[in-house]
């Protein structure tokens, strides 16, 4: 059971209070900032990386 929990559980402990970053009037949680950064990374990767395609498409 412990192994299953370790396998499917969160990589970090999410049970504690959240962490926040503050800069003047701007306040954002670290979790939200991480998600925004991930979105930017995926967006840039989608632009730069080629889309895998089937090799036998000669008619395209």
């Amino acid at each position: 059971m412990t192994a299953v929990v370790a396998l499917v559980g969160a990589l970090i402990n999410l049970s504690g209070p959240g962490h926040f970053l503050s800069w003047h009037f701007i306040q954002i949680s670290v979790a939200n900032l991480v998600v925004i950064c991930l979105m930017v990374v995926v967006f840039v990767a989608a632009i730069l990386l080629p889309l895998p395609s089937r090799k036998h498409r000669h008619d395209r």
Partner: protein, 247 residues
């Protein structure tokens, strides 16, 4: 109206639309059918091929958003059938509840990237304004749907969110019909009203994508355009492979 060829004996149906009898031409059913068939012929509503420029990962996020929305709806249906005690107490209920939450996270994740991509493509070009507007409205309504979902958690988190939001909502005057402290009302908004609106607007959005086609990329600026060149918003597709695409 052209006369369709005779019905084949194989299946009793024909691909061509039924001709409208002159006596029936004034009926609203005939007018609606003719308009719908003209706007959305089967090859356009469910095409087999896409233009060559769609072979980019940036064009994937719309369908990823739709896939996430499907999981949101399916898990929401299961939660509605089984009820709060089940999703709060049983391990299976907690799992489905988590699936509902994380599919919403994925939905917004993909939708925002889809939004960025379409914004930088200026995807409202080529008579695609309604496609863009329905996308914007579906995004805004989805925020409301997610908000009422957070209010429906029945925990300290939802209590905190509702008490933080009440003054702002009430200051707009919407508090009379949208009371964030009224759990039953927020649950109904979350599981009935807002999902209906989201699904309806996303449906219109998809129909508009099929109607106008996927927006083509900007034309390369290799040579200076001569006077009287194609205006912005009417670019021809780079390599359209389907008859109904990029119209």
């Amino acid at each position: 109206m052209t006369v369709s060829p005779p019905v084949t004996e194989a299946d009793g149906h024909d691909d061509a639309p039924e001709p409208i009898h002159p006596e029936d031409a004034g009926q609203w059913t005939a007018k609606l059918r003719a308009t719908a068939v003209e706007a959305f012929p089967p090859a356009r509503i469910l095409p087999d091929r896409q233009p060559a420029y769609v072979a980019s990962a940036l064009y994937v996020f719309g369908v990823l958003t739709m896939a996430a929305l499907s999981i949101v709806i399916l898990t929401g249906l299961v939660l509605a059938v089984m009820g709060p005690t089940w999703w709060h107490v049983s391990s299976t209920g907690l799992f489905v509840n988590s699936l509902h939450l994380w599919s919403v996270e994925a939905f917004f994740f993909f939708m925002v990237i889809h939004l960025w991509g379409k914004f930088f493509m200026a995807a409202w070009r080529g008579r695609r304004r309604l496609t863009w507007v329905t996308g914007v409205v579906s995004f805004l309504v989805s925020v409301g749907a997610a908000f009422t979902g957070y209010l429906s958690q029945q925990n300290f988190d939802s209590q905190w969110i509702s008490t933080q939001a009440k003054d702002g909502i009430n200051s707009t005057g919407a508090g009379a019909v949208f009371n964030v402290l009224n759990f039953g009302q927020m649950l109904m908004w979350h599981i009935v009203l807002l999902p209906l609106v989201v699904v309806a607007i996303v449906g219109i959005h998809l129909l508009m994508v099929r109607r106008r086609g996927v927006v083509p990329p900007f034309a390369p600026e290799a040579a200076p355009a001569p006077a009287g060149d194609t205006p912005v918003g009417s670019e021809a597709p780079v390599a359209a492979t389907t008859a109904g695409e990029a119209s």
